[in-house]
């Protein structure tokens, strides 16, 4: 049963670049399990802050939330009203990474001191969500690292066991 359409963008970092139209991939949501919770129908940060559609008079939920884009007609909220259309999206505002200050910080080596304003820090954190989907799950990575760290510490202490 077709319930609606989930439109996925090509990548969080890309889609937030200013003035850049991106293609989206759309696919049918084929089972009730794939229905999207009500909270996802509301733009988390508001379309005026993040993204606007350029076609079909649609609203677009925030890019940073759940790392995917949802589209619906301005008039409709039910999943049944969702359109099955590929859309172009355009970032409404430039983001913090485009600022010369951040470009300069990025070019500096690891460990170079970092000074930010609260607003910059807030936007950086917001955009960071889902940016490294390639990482192992936190639980696995932490377990592995803790064993290494513990081994290093306890090897020395263990000698006086």
């Amino acid at each position: 049963m077709s319930i609606g359409t989930l439109v996925r963008t090509l990548g969080l970092a890309e889609k937030l670049l200013p003035d850049r139209t991106l293609d989206c991939m759309s696919r049918e949501i084929s089972s009730p399990e794939e229905q999207i919770g009500e909270q996802m129908l509301e733009p988390r940060f508001g379309p005026e802050l993040d993204l606007k559609t350029t076609t079909h008079n649609m609203y677009v939920a925030t890019a940073a939330y759940f790392n995917r884009i949802l589209c619906r007609h301005a008039s409709g909220t039910a999943l049944d009203d969702w359109d099955i259309v590929p859309i172009g999206i355009r970032a409404a505002v430039s983001n913090v990474w485009d600022k010369p200050k951040l470009r300069k910080l990025m070019a500096e080596p690891l460990g170079t001191p970092i000074e930010l304003t609260m607003e910059e820090a807030d936007e950086i954190i917001r955009l960071a969500f889902g940016r490294r989907a390639d990482l192992p799950a936190g639980k696995e990575l932490v377990k592995e690292v803790r064993e290494l760290l513990g081994h290093s510490l306890m090897e020395r202490l263990g000698k006086i066991d």
Partner: protein, 129 residues
Amino acid sequence: MSDLYDTSVFIDYWKGDTAAFTLIDSARRQPQSASYSPLSATELWQYPRLGRQEEIEYVALTRYFLQEAQLTTTAAMKAGQLLRAYSRNQRRKLVADALIAATAEERGERVVSRNDRDFRKFYSNVASY
């Protein structure tokens, strides 16, 4: 009572985990309402796949929105005592958990982690997400 976010929260947020999003979003809305252990920075920065952008993101979060839960001598001694009950091999695996748990206990905070089972060996006020 406030929370101490374990390292897994940061990784899972980068990864796109919605539960981790809720935790970090809460810290953004109420700066300084949660804390982190500096041990998390060591754990993250020994990982070669994290680079300058992640460093800037981590600093943005920890310096501006979270409290630093410093490791004190008292907490370190407590962690050492807690570890006595375990074999040498187990102590290797659990030393960081014991240090973070003792830090949270000293501060009266709840540890929030995906590795909650290990933390519960040392401290009862632990939550998964």
